[in-house]
């Protein structure tokens, strides 16, 4: 992948060796010997290389780039010896499925090579003595340190506790975006993001991790890439498939979802797993935040029945502005950081309510019912709903084959067949692939 050459570099041969039908793009960079530097006329260049370390470090840099940018292939060759004007001093090639990764990877590699590779350059001038040159602004350090990254906050948090924390964030939307930005910046060492959705245009006004060029991309993947770029010292993982959440090992769950069914499911799951949960929700101008410590009072203490989503407004249907979701999400992250850093926060004993229309705040004491089963961990998890009895748009699949139905990738509809058996099977399969689709119980015969 990384090599040194004492003879001129053949770009064609190297490009050919990176050919790959999986790749949608190749980006190739040449560093050329130019005829001037700092006002002096250059006539040739000499490279001296500490070979053993250069080969090791070059290999490391390419491996980092391959991992960071999801590359199919990466190659770099650095010249050694005496070079004439116009010769290729360094060749870098990167292949990826999408062009963005290849562009970023080549930039990363040339920048890292300039910082880290033990290579020295002697310029031979027309009218002056030859000189060993280097980029004057790089001579202070090899790379920035973790300490420098957190220097403006380390007096206020327990940085080690944050670094060792494993946090699961469910939902990378209106609340998830500000939560992820704050947790990543603060240095939470391990962040897992779960979201089955893709970025849509109508999200962009409030979901700050995304941009126009990311519409259509999976939110879990796009958001994990963005926060990894923000903080290279943490470990980030994005999951967009349906997974059994109980198999993920974490210290804290953060609920940034937007519907009651999921919120209650996460709430019950956390009580079953004895996992602390910080939950937030927003409706137009109001938001609330509560932290659940299993055993100290839960939603089921107040109501054993899960309220239906039709009772509540949803941001997608009723509207919300980014400033509101960003505010609540940031406060939710602040509660998380306090909890991880000190073991306590302000929303375990009281639920926090904020109304941005008049900036009024309420803190309501949380209620614990004696003998509550959920508090004790005796939880019956409601299986993810596949069948509905109505109240949704219907997609009649009686005249469609299974393959045709799967290919349609239906969304937010209830499949309907004769008796509800085939539609249930297909709905389950589509749900596994991340689609919000249900089956009409009993089929046409129920209508």
């Amino acid at each position: 992948m990384f090599s040194l050459s004492t003879t001129p570099i053949s770009s064609e041969l190297l490009t050919e060796s990176l050919q790959n039908e999986k790749a949608g793009a190749i980006v190739v960079f040449h560093g050329w010997v130019r005829d001037h530097n700092e006002g002096k006329k250059v006539k040739s260049l000499e490279y001296q290389i500490y070979k053993e370390l250069a080969l090791k470090e070059g290999k490391r840099i390419l491996e980092e780039a391959k991992k960071k940018f999801n590359l199919h292939g990466i190659m770099a060759v650095h010249r050694e010896g005496h070079l004439a004007l116009g010769e290729i001093a360094i060749w870098i090639g990167a292949t990826s499925s999408h062009r963005d990764d290849a562009f970023k990877a080549t930039r990363y590699v040339i920048d890292e090579i300039k910082y880290r590779l033990p290579v020295w350059k002697k310029e031979h001038y027309l009218h002056e003595k030859p000189e060993w040159v280097f980029c004057k602004d790089h001579h202070h350090h090899v790379h920035f340190s973790e300490k420098e990254f957190y220097s403006k906050q380390s007096a206020l948090v327990n940085q080690d506790k944050l670094k060792n924390a494993k946090v699961l964030v469910v939902g990378a939307g209106g609340l998830g975006c500000p939560v992820l930005l704050s947790l990543a910046g603060a240095g939470v060492g391990h962040i897992t993001i779960v979201d089955h959705d893709v970025v849509s245009l109508s999200n962009l006004h409030r979901q700050s991790l995304y941009s126009v060029n990311l519409v259509g991309e999976k939110k879990a993947i796009a958001s994990s890439k963005k926060i990894q770029e923000l903080n290279p010292f943490i470990h980030v993982e994005g999951i967009s498939e349906r997974v059994k959440l109980e198999h993920l090992q974490h210290d804290l769950m953060i609920d940034c979802t937007d519907n009651l069914e999921t919120k209650y499911f996460l709430h019950d799951l956390c009580h079953k797993l004895r996992l602390p949960l910080i939950s937030s929700s927003v409706y137009q101008n109001e938001g609330q935040i509560r932290t659940f410590i299993p055993g100290e009072g839960c939603l089921r203490c107040q109501s054993e029945v899960t309220p239906d989503d039709s009772l509540l407004g949803n941001c997608n249907d009723f509207g919300v502005i980014g400033a509101v979701t960003n505010t609540l999400g940031s406060l939710q992250a602040s509660e998380a950081i306090k909890f991880l850093s000190t073991g306590e926060n302000s929303t375990t004993t009281h639920t926090f309510y904020l109304n941005v229309a008049d900036l009024s705040i309420m803190k309501v004491k949380n209620f614990k019912k004696e003998g509550c089963k959920t508090c004790a961990g005796e939880v019956q998890l409601e299986e993810h709903k596949v069948e509905v009895s109505g109240g949704m748009e219907i997609l009649d699949i009686r005249n469609l084959t299974d393959e045709e139905v799967m290919a349609l990738k239906p969304h937010n509809v209830a499949l309907c067949c004769h008796r509800g058996i085939r539609s249930k099977k297909l709905a389950m399969k589509l749900q596994e692939e991340g689609h919000e689709v249900y089956s009409l119980k009993g089929g046409v015969s129920s209508l």
């Binding site: 500490y50 650095h78 001093a89 090579i113 880290r116 590779l117 020295w120 350059k121 060993w132 280097f134």
Partner: protein
């Protein structure tokens, strides 16, 4: 006393006239470098120098490892 093999590159090689030499020294790599500055009149202060030991980056404040290969790395200019 630790016997080590010290390698020079670029301007350090030119100032010392050597690509490498064996020597004995006790202390940190920074202290070793400072003694070499005295001997060869290197024009770069230790803050601008990195050190590699046995072909891996190390720190100038580390105590010298016996029998090691030591390379002082002046500011680099690859690419």
């Amino acid at each position: 006393m630790s016997t080590i093999n010290v390698h020079y590159f670029a301007s350090l090689r030119e100032a010392s006239g050597l690509s490498h030499e064996e020597m004995s020294f006790e202390g940190t790599y920074k202290e070793l470098y400072l003694s070499l500055v005295q001997k060869y009149h290197f024009n770069l202060p230790p803050e601008m120098i990195m050190v590699a030991v046995d072909d891996e980056f190390s720190s100038m404040d580390e105590v010298i490892k016996p029998q090691g290969k030591v390379v002082f790395i002046p500011p680099v200019a690859g690419g």
